[in-house]
């Protein structure tokens, strides 16, 4: 005679350990994830195509004393935080024939990349179409 035991009622599993594990995973992914879209500045390079403008290039120098257009001071470095910091530069460009002219941007040796990035950002926001990085 085979007597199978009667089916035991299933005990309810406790939710607390599962919630513990899920929270551990959640915290792991929160720490491992990079939040927010990373911001980038496009860097123009010579594509071999001719410039769409026949204006001559202008020399923009980034020195510790400020931003110079063809050797004339236009803005101070510490003012690059202000939205209208490069307005004098663009006004000078407009008197020279327009801001569509290619800009040769030459940083001096004692300026940080941060200042260069801030100037590139201001220039692209102001509508400078062609900025070429030139080594000193």
């Amino acid at each position: 005679m085979i007597a199978l035991p009667p089916l035991r009622r299933r005990t309810r599993i406790s939710l607390t350990p599962m919630i513990d594990v899920v929270f551990l995973l959640l915290i792991f992914f929160m720490l491992a994830a990079r939040l927010g879209p990373a911001a980038v500045l496009p860097l123009a390079t010579g594509s071999g195509a001719p410039m769409p403008t026949d204006l001559p290039p202008r020399l923009v120098e980034l020195r510790a004393e400020g931003v110079f257009l063809n050797g004339v001071p236009q803005a101070r470095l510490e003012d690059l935080a202000q939205p209208d910091a490069v307005q004098p530069l663009f006004a000078a460009l407009d008197t020279l024939g327009g801001r569509a002219a290619p800009l040769a941007l030459r940083p001096a040796a004692d300026v940080s990349l941060e200042a260069l990035a801030q100037l590139l950002d201001r220039l692209s926001q102001g509508g400078a179409a062609h900025v070429i990085l030139v080594s000193p």
Partner: protein, 143 residues
């Protein structure tokens, strides 16, 4: 005589069992854990340049190669440094499909002139790797 256990008469009124659902949820969780690609951390501590504007380009993840310029003016790519990094990047670009984007992560304290020199060396090294022009972008932080 064989005694089989008696089936419960009220089976139809029991609530849905929760354990199979938990099993499936854990299977899905493990599947996504394994298939997810976690962004590798930067090889060195890099402080990105801080900009004062809030609007601008967002990064496109498709087909981008991450190159790091350290404060000591070293070029890093996939665990290689300087000349080895450039040749590893060149190899990667020759295999890439579509228009590859090279994202430069440069330290904010790097001198701008050194950055331009490193950028030009990088450009010269990878120029001609592909028929179409490459796209470069500089990783920054915005307010």
């Amino acid at each position: 005589m064989i005694t089989l256990p008696r089936r419960s008469a009220q089976k139809s009124v029991r609530p849905e069992p929760i354990i199979p659902m938990i099993n499936v949820v854990f299977l899905l969780l493990i599947f996504f854990l394994i298939s997810a690609a976690i962004t590798p951390p930067p090889p060195v501590e890099i402080r990105l340049p801080q900009l004062h504007t809030s609007e601008g380009n967002a990064r496109q993840e498709m087909g981008s190669a991450d190159v790091y310029f350290t404060r000591a003016a070293d070029t890093l790519f996939e665990g290689q440094a300087n000349a080895a990094a450039l040749s590893a990047l060149l190899e990667r670009l020759q295999k890439a499909e579509g228009t590859p984007v090279i994202t430069l992560h440069a330290d904010a304290a790097l001198e701008a002139a050194e950055f331009v020199a490193l950028f030009q060396a990088l450009r010269d090294a990878v120029q001609g790797a592909r028929a179409e022009p490459l796209r470069f972008e500089l990783s920054v932080r915005r307010e």
